[in-house]
Symmetry: C2
Subunit: 411 residues, 2 copies
Amino acid sequence: MTALQPNYLIFSNEGVSGVAWKNRALKRSVIAYLDVSDSCTVMDISRELNISVPKAASLVSELVQDNLIRDYGKIDSTGGRKANVYGLVNDACFFIGVDVKKYYVNIGLLDFKKHLLSIRENVPFQLENTPGSLRALTDIIRRFISDFSELESRILGVGINLSGRVNHVTGYSYSFFHFQEEPLSRIIQQEIGIPTFLENDSRSMAYGEFMNGVVKNERNVLFINIDFGLGMGILIDGNLYYGKSGFSGELGHIPFFQNEKICHCGKRGCLETETSGIALLEEIKERIRGGSSSILSQKNRDVDRIRLEDVIEAARKQDTLVIEVLAELGDKLGKAIAILINIFNPELVVLGGKVSETGEHIRLPIRSALNKYTLGLVNNDTQLKLSRLGERAGVMGACLIARGKVLSAAH
Amino acid sequence: MTALQPNYLIFSNEGVSGVAWKNRALKRSVIAYLDVSDSCTVMDISRELNISVPKAASLVSELVQDNLIRDYGKIDSTGGRKANVYGLVNDACFFIGVDVKKYYVNIGLLDFKKHLLSIRENVPFQLENTPGSLRALTDIIRRFISDFSELESRILGVGINLSGRVNHVTGYSYSFFHFQEEPLSRIIQQEIGIPTFLENDSRSMAYGEFMNGVVKNERNVLFINIDFGLGMGILIDGNLYYGKSGFSGELGHIPFFQNEKICHCGKRGCLETETSGIALLEEIKERIRGGSSSILSQKNRDVDRIRLEDVIEAARKQDTLVIEVLAELGDKLGKAIAILINIFNPELVVLGGKVSETGEHIRLPIRSALNKYTLGLVNNDTQLKLSRLGERAGVMGACLIARGKVLSAAH
DNA sequence: GATTATTAATAAATATTTTTAATAAGTTTG
DNA sequence: CAAACTTATTAAAAATATTTATTAATAATC
């Protein structure tokens, strides 16, 4: 059987108006509804979209013809004729997510129903602000796509996470690959031939956890990305919050300490100088040099060559020094998160990024700091959870960002 | 001519479905569009709402019949037949706003086009958590309404600001008047016979400034309410942000200082303990007792009886002591606002509340603290302005909250 | 196990909306 | 100043959606 050419038209508004436009919008609404409710009947759609049953039925039948949704069978009834339920078709279309890290890339493929079908992790790569580095990146993406050639015509979007400042609307990147006039997203799109979307890494991870991770029904969520640096993704009423220029969530650089450590941003006293992966690593090294004992010091290795991964591994092995330093870090970070809780009154705060892989060793100190520093009434509203997706939040988020933009016809 | 009985039906969805429901929704959309664009043509509406011109024309003619909009005349054309422009009818309907303070009440009347037609300020009142105090409040509202008896049938909503915790959806108040089962908004509504909506005071003021104050086209705005306490209203994409239980924006109680001052909330080191009207007043008194000279000390009056209003008056008269203390307060508050700017990347921060009436004496120290404590890139995005409405932001906000809820049929 | 109540799907009739065409009311240009 | 060109409004025709009525399917009840 030859590859299906699904009816992509509904994901764009080009060249249509009037009834055609309305029908596309309605079909997208049906898909959006199916996206959150998983399956539904014709009557559900009629109620939800305020359209008549025959109209809903005709939309459904067209979407079935387009192979975007299909009949899932009958639903249990409470007395009366059983209704047909419909849901999305798994392989109707696909999306690619690219999580660009400093020394490697993670890349994955997501299907229409938000399953991560394939993921390739730790693909070697050097993130530099050079044309060569950009070419290496597009090569990696192209190579990944070529592994799914039979699906290629159904890959509708590519999402790319970059750290630093990114404008998701214009597609410009300000921290990397900004050596040309055109927006970066368009450059890459021309290279790989698929609509491409850029996003900040912490925001993307937040979106991943929100759509397909630890978040269930919460709509106002903070995602704290404790990695080498410290970032945050903000979800407000189920949508990513960007701020005026997409620079929101700069948690790492809020003025928080009276210390003398100069941050790489040039300011002094940034939160990140004491509560990030780098700060953790440096503190551990400092203490080992000062004579503290630890699994990390015993292996008569060079202190300078300890990596953040080693520290996290040591925490898993119940290393006392690491646990102690994490507790101190957690108390400070908890105080900062207490501020956020007072301001946002969120339903949920999710801890993600490399350092969060130390699990309860970081969560519990933060939790007790929250009890200490927030108003009881406000604090009781807020859950504190560890990321469910872990390292994969980035790829998942990138896929989902692309999926969300394509499905809402926002391109 | 007898008082018009306008067609209020479009502001509710009760008992309608299908075409009737859609038409009401469309008419509300027309009004919402007119609300931001002031005036428009039939073709504008057709484009904006994606409906055909004849359909738009029929909606417009019905709205004109309902006396909600009217023909403003012809618009200038750029070659071709001139179009009729339509706009809202000033006196189609009215809204009342009640700003409840500790020792007095401000109350005002707003028309359909957001003009504050009448305001009564400083109506004596004692805010206590007693049935008597509640009765006094409803009496004040009733008396105010009775002054506009010929308009009464067109008063569609009453908004009430209360300090402390308020749930705007359920209508419950948790800090005042919570001695009955039923939500407070319903109790008051029964007393005065007009749909009633509750809101937190800082949020309401933020909304006032946003809809009818210093905010022009900005969509992400923070309103800092520096009054006796310290509050904040958050506007995200043009909407008030509430958080899970409506407790967002608790700026006054974020853990910020290592001081020993115990806040009335029970915690230590709250921002409010050093950067609120009360903190300002106490610091001034302290310094005068310590021998500092000031306009306030010269009037051989009792130091204990200096009021916040006196301090603000002194600042206006260029009193050195007050200006000095304000500068210190502004520096601390500016550091806190720097945190907010890093997190929200807002287009605008508005300073409101009593202390903001000191004008540049408080704005400039905050501005320079922002330069010191925020990243240049982020800071350049953000304007810092003084409230335009001042004391009236509360009444204006309360009216507009009621207006917004009624017009969006959210009741 | 037949009957009744309930809900879903379909068909026919009715109502509404959009499209297309025509007309009206201007502006610009030769 | 009239012809050509624009744009707005109205009218009639065509397309589309909603209503209402009917049929189909199933669970609960007697």
